[in-house]
């Protein structure tokens, strides 16, 4: 199912004001309803390599699979939808490619990347993430964070050691507890949420949420929601105006209308004819 008419997507990425190169990587496949954002880490160029591999592997592999399968098809074995398995397998594939490259080439040793993947299908969005890159949702006037960071800070908040207010001033914002490409195996966190027409999804690297308050991000999306390209640029600009200490990347996805997956006799007929 082609989602070109259903989703509006705008992206923007910038090295920021301090760093000399951009270790973030973003990719969007509008027709398949897939967006991927990765924030690489590791010495010199390795971070870019890791995040670039993650986005490329996931987008190309998903494109191949989606050419022949629908995410809401049922698995023959366990009667569950194949979407989650499909995304998970591609994330694992990206993980092993990065891990192997890091193992075999000394200049890439220890590289890794955070990841957020969103797959839109059948009036739903499937979200897989690792590390501290985030997904936010603006629904009507409510702006909230959808993903929970895999970071030391978040674990400290969860276990009650520090409060969210203290977390804003905490020292070790940079320690993530899960990432792609660091270990031979990784388990991405995967959830599925229903979408509504009008929803505005924001994927961003920590360069945005560390520099700009959630409140200001929400306000910007509400004010500039009519012009996604401008909203994306404005968010990056706000991060840079506040110091821009890290690479900043944003992907905005607006759901324009309903997009139920075609089912029933007619759909089967079409699939069969193809």
């Amino acid at each position: 199912m082609d989602l070109t008419q259903t989703l509006e997507i705008a992206t923007c990425t910038d090295p920021g004001m301090v760093r000399s190169h951009n270790e973030d990587s973003i990719a969007a496949d509008q027709g398949n309803g897939l967006v991927v954002l990765a924030d690489g880490m590791g010495g010199y160029n390795a971070g870019e390599v890791a995040s670039g591999m993650a986005t490329t592997v996931i987008v190309t592999e998903m494109r191949q699979i989606l050419a022949s399968a629908r995410p809401y098809e049922l698995d023959q074995k366990n009667n569950q939808e194949i979407a989650a398995r499909m995304v998970r397998e591609q994330v694992l594939k990206a993980n092993s490619s990065i891990y192997q490259a890091a193992q075999s080439q000394p200049q890439y040793a220890g590289m890794g990347t955070t990841l957020v993947v969103c797959l839109f299908y059948d009036n739903r969005v499937l979200v897989a993430h690792l590390g501290d890159s985030r997904l936010y949702l603006l629904r009507e006037t409510k702006f909230r964070q959808v993903t929970r960071d895999h970071s030391l800070l978040q674990e400290q908040i969860d276990s009650g050691i520090i409060t969210p207010e203290q977390a804003k001033k905490a020292a070790h914002k940079n320690l993530v507890t899960k990432a792609l490409g660091i270990d031979p195996m990784v388990e991405p966190e995967i959830h599925e949420y229903p979408t509504k027409p009008g929803d505005l999804y924001l994927l961003c690297s920590d360069g945005l949420c560390d520099m700009v308050d959630d409140e200001d991000i929400g306000m910007t999306l509400q004010a500039l929601g009519g012009n996604l390209k401008l909203a994306a640029q404005q968010l990056v600009q706000m991060a840079n105006d506040n110091g821009g200490r890290d690479n900043v990347s944003v992907i905005l996805v607006r759901v324009l209308r309903e997009y139920p997956g075609p089912r029933g006799v007619m759909a089967k007929m079409f699939a069969w004819l193809k």
Partner: protein
């Protein structure tokens, strides 16, 4: 990326980026930086670069290594340090110097905390049942934080606590930046004044013509958001890029004229 600038008698000879973890300096050709001068030892010194930090170490050279006039054995290189080797000078320039120099060390790159560090206290409490799982996790997090501190990660961040990234109020304009306001000159609300305190303020009618006024450290800007017609500033239609606003500029938007001015 940090780099070295090699010069002799004030003449710049070469720029060397510090891309490797170990950069060796000496007279012999196998060195990364070869200086063919008899005052320089075969293996004279080495620069070890870890993330953003570079350390210079003398390798027991005959004539020694001098940084900023002082002989050193081991030295943590800072921006604009000058290393002297005989007649040659090597100037160290840190990453994105000099503006970010003070902040450079503060904002660390994202790093992974290895799960092995999280698991260390687990075996001790492994048999005490599910209720203790939360306590275990908590202990693990604490110990991970401690181990991070032990490895010097938190140590570096500790410097950033005062004046670091967290303490900068986001989206706030610089203190002393004049507050801008607009006054409507035509339409039903003529004479009404609106202070521009927020980082961004939208104007116009949604679906017809909308523009946004953004407050940035450099001043105020107007940008076209939606609508076929763009707003005009002093009679000139603005482009797609943000347009900088000056005191007493007259904006026309959706048929309404307004004046932008700065408050003292």
């Amino acid at each position: 990326m940090a780099k070295l600038i090699l010069s002799m008698d004030g003449l710049v000879l070469k720029e060397i980026p510090l891309t490797k973890e170990r950069t060796t300096i000496g007279r012999k050709p196998h060195n990364d930086i070869q200086i063919d001068n008899l005052a320089v030892s075969g293996e004279h010194a080495v620069i070890v670069t870890i993330l953003n930090d570079s350390f210079l170490e003398d390798l027991g050279s005959t004539n020694g290594t001098v940084v900023n006039g002082n002989p050193i054995k081991k030295h943590f290189l800072q921006n604009n340090d000058v290393v002297e080797l005989g007649k040659y000078k090597l100037k160290f320039v840190g990453e994105s110097a000099p503006a970010a120099n003070a902040e450079k060390a503060d904002f660390e790159k994202t790093m992974v905390l290895r799960p092995s560090a999280m698991k260390t206290p687990a075996p001790a409490a492994a048999t005490t049942g599910p209720q203790s799982a939360v306590a275990q996790r908590q202990a693990a997090v604490q110990s991970a934080a401690a181990s991070a501190a032990a490895t010097g990660i938190a140590d570096k961040d500790a410097k950033s606590a005062p004046g670091g990234p967290a303490s900068i109020p986001p989206a706030a304009a610089k203190p002393g930046q004049p507050l801008g306001a607009i006054q409507l000159l035509s339409g039903g609300n003529a004479g009404k004044e609106l202070e521009l305190t927020k980082p961004l303020t939208t104007l116009g009618k949604p679906g017809v013509q909308v523009a946004v006024l953004t407050r940035r450290p450099q001043g105020y800007f107007i940008t076209h958001v939606e609508g076929d017609k763009r707003p005009t500033v002093n009679g000139q239609e603005i482009g797609a890029a943000p347009h900088s606003l000056k005191d007493h500029d007259v904006i026309e938007l959706a048929g309404v004229k307004m004046e932008f001015f700065l408050k003292a």
